[in-house]
């Protein structure tokens, strides 16, 4: 597509990157076919091509209003569009640039600013979030107004299970601990550690690591995201130097972000190399397990029916490989047929909180297709999807790793 970026932006790093991405777009519209919001509302402005166009307008000097902002907000950043783009348009990167640009020009109303500030300053920090989470359970009835969507985000507290005994003879891998998951589903990483331990791998969760940065990134605070990335790199680096084989991701939303550290910090002279190395080592848990011999785990599933929801970050973002279905099948589970697996469930990070209407509609559709095969349990690979779906599923929604532990394999009654 023809572009004419205004001079003030043309020479900035963002301006050049945006121009490079825009020039690849041929306006063919293939992207609209896999865009969950376009398929829902049939409005050019709520599809990738329309959003690209709106971003292009801003880069070309048009003054955006809250309307452009709203349509960019409605994007899930699920990146399904990138998988159908034959021209290789890196939409998500463009969206990040566009959103930040628009947010600089269009001030949001106060309630929106408050919610966004809270998300960035509380949810992204597991101690603060843990505190609020505990508080939230106590004050659940008070979550009203713009905070109402949070109410259904409150899963029951998990009874913590133990990590395996440290065994220093084993191979080592790092696990990303993140922000929301250790609070809302602390057992996911423990399960991963236990399974890997059986396979001769010791999982280390460095205490100093924190949010991957995706929250800030999606809320148009890319500098803040870079700080999170640097902090994580600092926390992991000694272990990497000591021979950790991989950074294992149990929440693909974080994984997609960590896998991009190399790109995000490409212009940082101090961190660029380390970041690239970190991205290289980043692997989804299913990808790690698929490389190991799982026969020792035995037939755990016993033919029970499981509906798998692959998170967008696992199927669309480059850098992560999804082997969940193969592993569960190998473990003896029967995977049910799920229509339109490419469509997002509506969780999409903070999306379900900021865009509840669209998110819930997407969730209803997703649950209808997940439940169509009458599964005993729904599994996924990302904490965001898990909490979002669980709130309305009617049957248990788990991280798939839980299904590999024999005593956990019995799905709890709904």
């Amino acid at each position: 597509m023809q572009t004419s970026i205004i001079p003030q932006l043309r020479d900035t790093a963002d301006g050049q990157e945006a121009d490079r991405i825009l020039r690849a777009c041929t306006h063919c519209g293939f992207c609209t076919a896999t865009c969950p919001t376009y398929q829902l509302v049939g409005d050019e402005r709520d599809g990738p091509r329309g959003r690209i166009y709106m971003i292009k307008q801003v880069l070309e000097g048009e003054e955006p209003t809250e309307k452009t902002q709203r349509h960019l907000d409605r994007c899930l950043t699920c990146r399904a569009c990138e998988t159908t783009c034959p021209s290789g348009v890196e939409y998500a990167k463009l969206a990040d640039i566009g959103r930040e640009l628009v947010d600089q020009k269009v001030q949001r109303p106060l309630p929106q600013r408050v919610v966004r500030w809270l998300l960035r300053h509380i949810v992204a920090y597991r101690n603060r979030f843990g505190f609020v989470f505990a508080l939230g359970h106590f004050f659940k009835p008070l979550l009203v107004g713009p905070l109402a969507p949070l109410r259904q985000k409150m899963p029951p507290k998990q009874e913590r299970i133990d990590w395996p005994q440290a065994d220093n003879t084993q191979r080592t891998m790092l696990v990303h601990d993140g922000c929301v998951q250790p609070v809302a589903a602390p057992n996911t990483n423990a399960h991963a550690a236990r399974i890997l331990s059986k396979l001769g791998v010791r999982l280390i969760a460095p205490k100093a690591s924190g949010c991957c940065g995706a929250l800030s990134q999606h809320l148009s605070h890319r500098e803040e995201a870079l700080d999170f990335a640097r902090a994580n790199i600092d926390a992991w680096w000694p272990h990497i130097e000591a021979g950790a084989e991989a950074i294992v991701i149990t929440a693909s939303g974080c994984g997609a972000s960590v896998a991009e550290y190399g790109y995000m910090l490409r212009n940082d002279p101090v961190y660029a190399d380390k970041a690239a190395r970190v991205s290289e080592l980043t692997r989804d848990l299913s990808d790690v397990l698929a490389q190991e011999d799982l026969t020792s785990l035995g037939d755990i599933g016993d033919g029970r029916k499981v509906a798998y929801h692959p998170p967008c970050t696992l199927q669309n973002a480059p850098g992560l490989h999804d082997n969940v279905a193969e592993i569960l099948t190998q473990a003896g589970y029967q995977l049910t047929h799920v229509q339109d697996p490419h469509l997002c469930c509506g969780s999409a990070g903070t999306y379900s909180i900021l865009q509840p209407t669209m998110a819930n509609e997407l969730r209803d559709n997703k649950l209808a297709s997940l439940n169509a095969g009458a599964p005993d349990v729904i599994v996924t690979a990302n904490i965001g999807c898990q909490l979002h779906l669980e709130a309305a599923a009617g049957i248990p929604v788990r991280h798939w790793i839980e299904l590999l532990e024999p005593r956990m394999a019995q799905p709890a009654a709904a």
Binding site: M1, Q2, T3, S4, R23, A24, C25, T26, H27, C28, G29, F30, C31, T32, A33, T34, Y38, Q39, V41, G42, D43, E44, R45, R49, G50, Y53, M54, Q57, E62, P64, T65, K67, T68, T84, C85, P86, S87, G88, V89
Partner: protein
């Protein structure tokens, strides 16, 4: 360029902002306000379709979701003499959905539901915004599919397919859109609802279904389509055949047909197209080949085995350097994936590309290919060729950079020369993308004025005020006279009956 003419054709009707305000008021008085878009910021994303070289911000966009809302919009526009351009998925490649600055753009993208699947009669009734591929996906479990498969089938809408009479890679055997639909519902320019065609294989009176198909939104707004569904072939296999010479590849196409085989698909890519698509899809195309053919045969297992071997014999006799036959559906899909992504994949080797769409008799394939190569040198622009070779339908993709001044104009001139080359070989300026605004001038070369006059008369039967997609598909004689002054062929002045401007 078409812009000036389009603006001129409609400027007499309306007089700017107050007019727009009036229309907004009338529309919002009867329609929900949030489906009537009029701010520049909202309108911009609609300024072009799949042919982004042509852009025009519409006066108003309406996003109806019910037929009643379409009727209301049409009635109000008709009463106020406002032109209307209907738009489906906006994937068209001839600018058929290019808006008008004084018109309403009627988006049918919200009409995205499949209304009925009639397994017994093998039909599906769908709303016009349903994606082509979504139909086949929805009936796949019944062993059925919808045959026409334009390359954009993942995204293009069935309403747009009917308006353009879209083809695809399987037309030679299974036909175009016109062969695969039985009934449509339209809303006329006055806002009246009509059923065209029937649930039977034919209908009484004139074959208006044939007339409506491919009429590029100039005769009515399609609001519902009933398509035929076919049984999925038991087996399909593709032969990927490489040649070291385009002439040999062209001759092989004719030889396959002559051998009595009707391939389900017969496609050709030349070297630049092979290289570009291979980079994206990694379909295993031989990057050193001068051209490849993809020849698909389908049917029962026995038939396919028999035919694919015959194809192998024929192409080997014609000098193929390599023949690979798909072993399973996965490999077959991979072979096709490259072809299906061929157009936009040009975005990887060139900032912009201009997709042409001529048809020629199959026998002229090699000659026209060589002619295009010569033109490419003459105009100094690269071209990659993707052909529905079985149908003699060429898609030369001219590569250019829209950010370089003058390149688009040179590209358009190059495209015009390719159209004339097709006509010289007894072909047509468009096989399946439609005329739109893009080839409106070439229509003057393909049709003498009497035929064009007849087209206008037919248009008048449906749309006396000329409000449906004006300025597209069929040029005015004055436009041709203007264009003809620039392109005089064989010393004859086209349309001599017209006073020169």
């Amino acid at each position: 360029m078409a812009h000036a003419d389009l603006a001129a054709s409609t400027e007499q009707a309306l007089g700017g902002a107050p007019r727009k305000q009036q229309l907004i008021e009338r529309l919002t008085a009867e329609l929900p306000a949030d489906i009537v878009l009029h701010a520049d910021e909202d309108l911009r994303p609609f300024e072009c379709d799949g042919l982004s070289a042509y852009r025009q911000v519409p006066m108003i966009v309406v996003l109806p979701s019910t037929i009643a809302q379409v009727q209301t919009t049409m009635r109000i526009c008709h009463d106020n003499d406002v032109p209307v351009v209907a738009r489906g998925a906006g994937t068209g490649l001839s600018g058929g959905a290019l808006p008008l600055d004084d018109g309403v753009l009627l988006s049918l993208a919200k009409f995205n539901r499949i209304l009925d699947i009639d397994t017994d009669n093998r039909r599906a009734t769908v709303q016009p915004g349903v994606r082509n591929l979504a139909i086949s996906e929805a009936v796949s479990h019944l062993g059925l599919y919808y045959a026409p498969d334009p390359s954009s089938q993942i995204a293009c809408s069935i309403g747009g397919n009917v308006a353009e009479n879209s083809g695809g890679v399987h037309c030679l055997k299974y036909g175009l859109t016109t062969h695969n639909i039985v009934q449509i519902e339209i809303v006329t320019v006055e806002g009246e609802r009509l059923t065209i065609g029937s649930s039977a294989l034919d209908s009484p009176g004139f074959d208006l279904l044939a007339l409506m198909t491919g009429s590029e939104g100039l005769l009515g707004v399609i609001v519902e389509v009933t398509v035929k569904l076919l049984a999925k072939p038991e087996l399909a296999r593709v032969a990927l055949v490489a040649f070291d010479d385009v002439r040999k590849a062209g001759d092989a196409v004719a030889a396959i047909i002559q051998a009595g085989i009707v391939p389900a698909g017969l496609e050709m890519l030349d070297n630049p197209a092979i290289v570009a698509t291979e980079e994206f899809v990694h379909a295993g195309y031989p990057k050193d080949a001068a051209a490849i053919l993809l020849c698909e045969v389908d049917g029962t297992e026995a038939e396919v085995e028999e035919d694919i071997e015959r194809v192998r014999e024929v192409v080997e006799r014609e000098g193929a350097t390599e023949v690979r036959i798909s072993r399973d559906d996965g490999e077959r899909a991979l072979f096709w994936a490259g072809r299906k992504a061929a157009f936009p994949a040009m975005g990887r080797i060139s900032p912009d590309y201009y997709c042409m769409d001529g048809t020629i008799p199959r026998k002229a394939l090699a000659e026209v290919l060589i002619g295009i190569g010569e033109l490419s040198e003459e105009y100094g622009q690269r071209v990659a060729n993707v052909f529905h070779a079985g149908d003699g339908n060429l898609h030369p993709l001219i590569l250019y950079d829209a950010n370089q001044e003058g390149e688009l104009e040179r590209t358009e001139a190059f495209g015009g020369a390719i159209c004339r080359l097709c006509l010289e070989h007894g072909g047509s300026i468009t096989g399946e993308h439609g005329v739109g605004v893009e080839k409106i001038d070439q229509m003057c070369v393909q049709f003498p004025s009497a035929e064009l006059t007849q087209f206008h008369a037919v248009k008048e039967a449906f749309d006396p005020k000329g409000l449906l997609n004006p300025g597209k598909a069929v040029p005015t004689l004055h436009r041709c006279a203007e264009f003809g002054a620039m392109h005089v062929h064989n010393g004859e002045l086209p349309h001599p009956e017209l006073e020169r401007l």
